[in-house]
Symmetry: C2
């Protein structure tokens, strides 16, 4: 049995060609297919990783993050002969949470953008299989490595570019309050402005939650101010699109009347807002790298915590006006006029 087992596992070099062939042919004829469960039991491994979705991501369809991540992860893991299991959490008691995950029989897990108060962050206190956070940059004390876009660097790039276009009156639509990314994006926004001695009017910094609907509301809120910013940065493309749609319905032009920038360069939204200036965020690559990192941990049996940030890049289209080019931005009364 040793012989058969070894050969079937690909350790051909231990035997002479003749034996190898004999086994292989026999296996072929009998239509033999290894039982992965049995192998897993014996080797204590399942060749499967989990992609954990929190209740918060409830309807996966609406989550434009899950798919590219899944795609990238699939791409890498398929090469390694690993499968992916979708683990959808449904508000289980913390008590059952770890059971649920453990009974999925996985070798490791990808956490899809865990939110700030997610119980999943205590992973290492309950489970011993490796885990990687994908899409949330986590404080180091959780001991969970992550792969994410470098939100701070990317936002800095965007804000500095916008400043270079001559804008000084800058608004901001925040992201979802529970997301680390939202926090980082807003913080960097403020920081860069501060470095340029600009203090944003707080009425121009409004809450959003990454949805188009929240972008619309944000637009209404900002338009209600006495003075308007020349540009508004939205924490993601989704809210930027809502923002722009609201503006458009009020016949306010982008970027002639007001400039808008997004973040993420969401491909699905290209047809809706083809001229949106934003920051490219390669989610497929995030998924790829995260699964690669997870795989390393699984095979090395090391829990080395070396996170990876990937760089975003500025995508300049035409939704942000260049105020330097001698273009005049309309004054407030004109704007109010046009809203009628």
């Amino acid at each position: 049995m040793t012989t058969t087992s070894n050969i079937l596992q690909g350790r051909h070099e231990l035997y002479r060609e003749e034996t190898v062939q004999k086994v292989l042919v026999a296996a072929e004829q009998l239509g033999y297919r290894p039982n992965l469960l049995a192998r897993g039991l014996a080797k204590q491994t399942t060749h499967t990783v989990g992609l954990v979705l929190e209740p918060h991501h409830s309807r996966i369809t609406r989550n434009d993050y899950a798919l590219p991540i899944l795609e990238g992860a699939t791409e890498f893991l398929t090469q390694q002969d690993y499968d992916i299991k979708i683990i959808t959490l449904v508000n289980e008691h913390p008590k059952y949470l770890w059971c649920r995950i453990e009974s999925a029989a996985i070798d490791g897990a990808l956490l899809l953008a865990p939110v700030m108060e997610s119980p999943l962050l205590e992973w290492n206190q309950h489970l011993s299989i490796p885990v990687v956070s994908v899409g949330s940059t986590l404080p180091p004390d959780y001991g969970i490595p992550y792969v994410d876009i470098d939100n701070e660097r990317a936002m800095r790039m965007l804000v500095e570019w916008i400043l270079a276009q001559g804008h000084r009156q800058i608004g901001f639509v925040k992201g979802h309050p529970l997301h680390w990314s939202a926090y980082q994006r807003e913080r960097t926004f403020r920081q860069v402005l501060a470095e340029h001695n600009i203090h944003p009017r707080e009425e121009w910094v409004v809450q959003g939650n990454y949805t188009a609907e929240s972008g619309r509301r944000a637009a209404q809120q900002i338009l209600a101010c006495n003075k308007l910013p020349t540009v508004v940065i939205c924490a993601n493309d989704g809210s930027a699109v809502g923002f722009i749609q609201q503006l458009t319905e009020l016949r306010i032009r982008v970027p002639e009347d007001i400039s808008v920038a997004g973040f993420d360069d969401e491909p699905l939204l290209h047809p809706i807002a083809p001229n949106l200036t934003t920051v490219r965020h390669d989610k497929v690559q995030v998924g790829y790298l995260a699964s690669q990192m997870l795989f390393q941990q699984i095979v090395n049996e090391t829990n080395s915590v070396a996170s990876t940030l990937i760089e975003g890049s500025l995508v300049v289209r035409s939704s942000v006006a260049n105020l330097r080019g001698g273009q005049r931005r309309p004054n407030y009364s004109q704007l109010k006029e046009v809203q009628r």
Copy 2:
């Protein structure tokens, strides 16, 4: 051990309350969690089903079908304590195909819209675990049950409604040539027209492949005809959106100059083409029912082949003009004029 095993599996009625509690408490204290692999080995079951994606659906992101299906399937299977494994096929030789699937260690599988020449259709000749085709109505000789929208009924409804609006010059943009749904939709289109003694001009029936890009090309092709249809039915919303965008760029108005209808009522496209008249297609429900059907087969160990068709419903918005209302449609020369 019998006692423990039985109680842990929920067969409490065999024992007196006292024993049950003793076991449960002990398990709790020891932090016992069953090893699903071992249980699987013993019971010959894995509590996992596969969602099989063909190479054809290569980039899952682009596939607006996979997610709602996954969502529906997750919803049902989570209740049943089943997990879902994503099985992405990558052009393996047919020889390895079945190994690949078998080694995924699943109790059954959902086939995501298998295409016409898919090797997966020979499933029953190679594998003995149950399978359900989701999103492709298959000829009965394959012996694979399916859950799908009733393409024929839905298309009939749409075409008849369009006829009722007074349209007689009707064009059609076909779907992807390898998809059963495309075949059904086109056939029904022709059939309903025939029943009304209308014979569509063949130059108005053009090939598409469900993408927006193919819709644009279709628009160009139809606009190149000497005579134009008053309405064009696109085999899905994706191509309808491309069709409309191409028209819009040429300053042809929908529906004033030409009417356009879609199919599927794809939520992602609502913001892009909010006025598209189409047919509602509840993919989440398809996924739910398909997994339910698969589950039945798994637990009953019956391979009963009873497919399910779910009904679509007409979504009337404003992209199709009512020719009865005394509205005049522009003549050809006006249309050509406007394209300049």
